[in-house]
């Protein structure tokens, strides 16, 4: 899909004023012609600037102050907030929690890739499996949080299942930092695998069927078909999934906030920022933290676009 649109877009001369404007428009007064597009763009641009760009600019400004978010006074403190952020280990520790979610993303993408490949061939009950695997992605995050709080509870679902197999249940799965983070990261795999799966499935199905037939005639087995037809065919989607997982792993909020509130070492970067800003009224410090996170995510995106240049966001 991306390819054809890019081709279609190419013949249009970039920003040439005399481009494909309808010839009849010349009948209309000249000054109106320049204004018309802006009439359509006023509302979107106002919203875009008010809720995306103004906050970014303000945030950078706040990050150099000691503002508490409420009082009219604010003092310019230079890079103090950034220094505090990088020198107080407990503020920086939250980044290690992201490691659990990054590791989980690897599992998630691998599983999605496997199921998408399997279900793109003829399998019985294909639509049923497709629906089941995708459905968790559509469920409300709070509901998922509660479902899995019960799942991991003492004597809850997981313990009951394990005791069926003879393991002694009664473990506090959310009791120690390591097992709590692994459990929460597992929930995030459960929740988001379906999205990757459906994206991969769509990409695989857009590969022309003749390719498989030809490969089969040449005696290629399933693995060779995957290696030489499917993998190259879904590369853009795969790289998009990787970038989404990295930025997703850095900005985890819902599941840990709902399930543990950030207790037992499960506090993530966003939970910490929300707490700093809205509980401890440290807007300045929270802004600095948010700027750091934003820069990291932009850097990751930039690196990814460098590495996979054919996956440009195709808007123009």
């Amino acid at each position: 899909m991306t390819d054809t649109t890019r081709k279609a877009a190419r013949p249009v001369p970039p920003a040439a004023p005399a481009g494909p404007t309808p010839p009849t428009a010349a009948r209309r007064p000249r000054r109106w012609r320049g204004v018309t597009p802006w009439l359509f763009l006023i509302a979107p641009l106002v919203l875009l600037i008010a809720f995306t760009y103004a906050p970014i600019v303000n945030m950078v400004a706040y990050s150099f102050t000691d503002w508490d978010g409420v009082s009219p006074e604010l003092r310019y403190t230079g890079a103090e907030n950034y220094a505090e952020l990088f020198t107080r280990p407990e503020l920086f520790e939250v980044f290690f929690v992201s490691g659990y979610y990054l590791a989980a993303s690897v599992v998630q993408i691998a599983a999605a890739l496997y199921f998408a490949t399997v279900l793109s061939f003829n399998v019985r009950f294909r639509n049923f499996f497709k629906g089941v695997l995708f459905f968790p992605y559509l469920i409300n995050g709070v509901a998922i949080g509660f479902v899995f709080l019960y799942f991991f509870q003492d004597g809850g679902t997981l313990d009951a299942i394990l005791s069926l197999f003879g393991y002694d249940g009664d473990r506090a799965w959310l009791g120690t930092p390591a097992s709590a983070n692994v459990s929460l990261a597992g929930v995030s795999v459960w929740r988001y695998m379906g999205l990757n799966f459906v994206l991969f499935l769509g990409a695989i199905q857009s590969i022309p069927g003749e390719l498989y037939e030809a490969a089969e005639l040449d005696g290629a087995n399933r693995w060779q078909q995957f290696r030489h037809i499917i993998a190259p065919g879904i590369r853009p989607v795969l790289s998009l999934s990787v970038i989404l997982s990295v930025s997703g792993s850095l900005s985890v909020f819902e599941i840990p906030y709902i399930m543990t509130g950030g207790a037992t070492g499960t506090e993530t970067f966003v939970i910490q920022t929300v707490k700093l800003a809205f509980q401890f009224n440290k807007t300045g410090l929270a802004s600095a933290a948010a700027v750091v996170l934003l820069l990291i995510i932009l850097a990751v995106t930039w690196v990814q676009r460098r590495l996979v240049p054919d996956d440009k966001v195709d808007l123009v």
Binding site: T5, A8, P14, A15, P17, A18, G19, T21, P23, T36, P37, W38, F40, L41, P44, L47, L48, F51, T52, Y53, A54, P55, N58, M59, G69, A111, F115, G131, V132, P136, L138, I139, N140, G141, V142, A143, F146, V147, Y150, F151, Q153, G156, T157, A160, I161, W190, L195, L199, L201, G202, A203, L240, L244, S251, E254, I258, A277, A290, I297, L315
Partner: protein, 276 residues
């Protein structure tokens, strides 16, 4: 057994396992929602069946004490206004960008593009101050404005579609004396129906499920949407898992119904919406 048959069996085994992993936690919560507090207390384990499979008392408690009716109402208002706004704004943006060549067009495009790279959660600290200074804090307007604000995905979907509408249609309408607004209203907008369906579905699911924005911007209890109202179950119902489960199922069921009816469109919507 041949190798091929073994491989096939393993594939089915993996699919069945995955199905169990997805369905088991949900099934257990559903079973729990049908149990009485007495059954929950006698510690019979999470996997036992409820004594009375038609015991819907917990649903009544969850629905009434959890104020789910007003939550569904608030969610519906936000859904309708925010999605209507997104459709209008997204299609207008796409029309202006695709059909006109004007100064700063590249800049406008770049502004929308870069905004897509900025995850909303990172800027909330400062967005909060703006929403607050506009007097929208703790009102339904805050989430509505924020959902309409920077929906790059829907703009992208609309752009793809506007591009596929032949310019000759615009031109013939122009020859008949239509101005830009009439072209947009009478020619472009009606032809965007498939794109609108996609945007409504993708956006609708995101808005229905969002927790972060209503949680931050609408703290008062009257303004609870389904996610924040459900979140509040954590307090009053504490360890009453039968009520919490009923609340969770109440929230999940509408999604399930919509999913079963619109399955195909939902898959298409997500492949189109996310692979930008």
């Amino acid at each position: 057994m041949t190798r091929r048959a073994v491989a096939r069996a393993l594939v089915y085994l993996s699919l069945v396992l995955a199905t169990l992993v997805v369905l088991l936690p949900l099934t257990v919560v559903f079973l729990t929602s049908l149990k009485t507090s007495g059954e929950m207390a006698d510690d019979s384990g999470a996997l036992t069946l409820p004594d009375d499979p038609l015991n819907f008392d917990n649903y009544v408690t969850a629905f009434q004490d959890g104020r789910m009716l007003s939550a569904f109402g608030n969610t519906a208002v936000i859904l309708v206004v925010a999605i209507g706004g997104t459709v209008l704004i997204g299609s207008m943006t796409a029309y202006a960008i695709d059909r006109f060549r004007f100064r700063f067009r590249k800049l406008v495009l770049a502004l929308f593009l870069v905004a897509a790279l900025v995850p909303g959660v990172t800027t909330q600290v400062a967005t909060f101050q703006i929403v607050n200074s506009l007097g929208m804090f703790d009102s339904l307007w805050a989430p509505i404005a924020l959902y309409m604000g920077t929906d790059i995905v829907s703009i992208y979907i609309f752009l793809q579609f506007v591009r596929s509408i032949p310019v000759s249609l615009d031109e013939s309408a122009r020859i008949d004396g239509a101005n830009a607004f009439t072209v947009y209203r009478k020619v472009i907008f009606p032809l965007l129906k498939p794109a609108i369906a996609t945007v409504v579905i993708v956006k609708g699911i995101n808005v229905y499920n969002d927790f972060y924005i209503p949680f931050l911007y609408m703290p008062s209890e009257d303004l609870g949407v389904i996610s924040t109202s459900l979140f509040r179950f954590k307090g009053p119902f504490g360890a009453h898992w039968e009520t919490i489960s009923a609340g969770a199922i109440l929230v999940i069921v509408p999604t399930l119904v919509v999913f079963l009816f619109l399955q195909r469109f939902i898959y298409n919507g997500f492949t189109r919406g996310a692979t930008k």
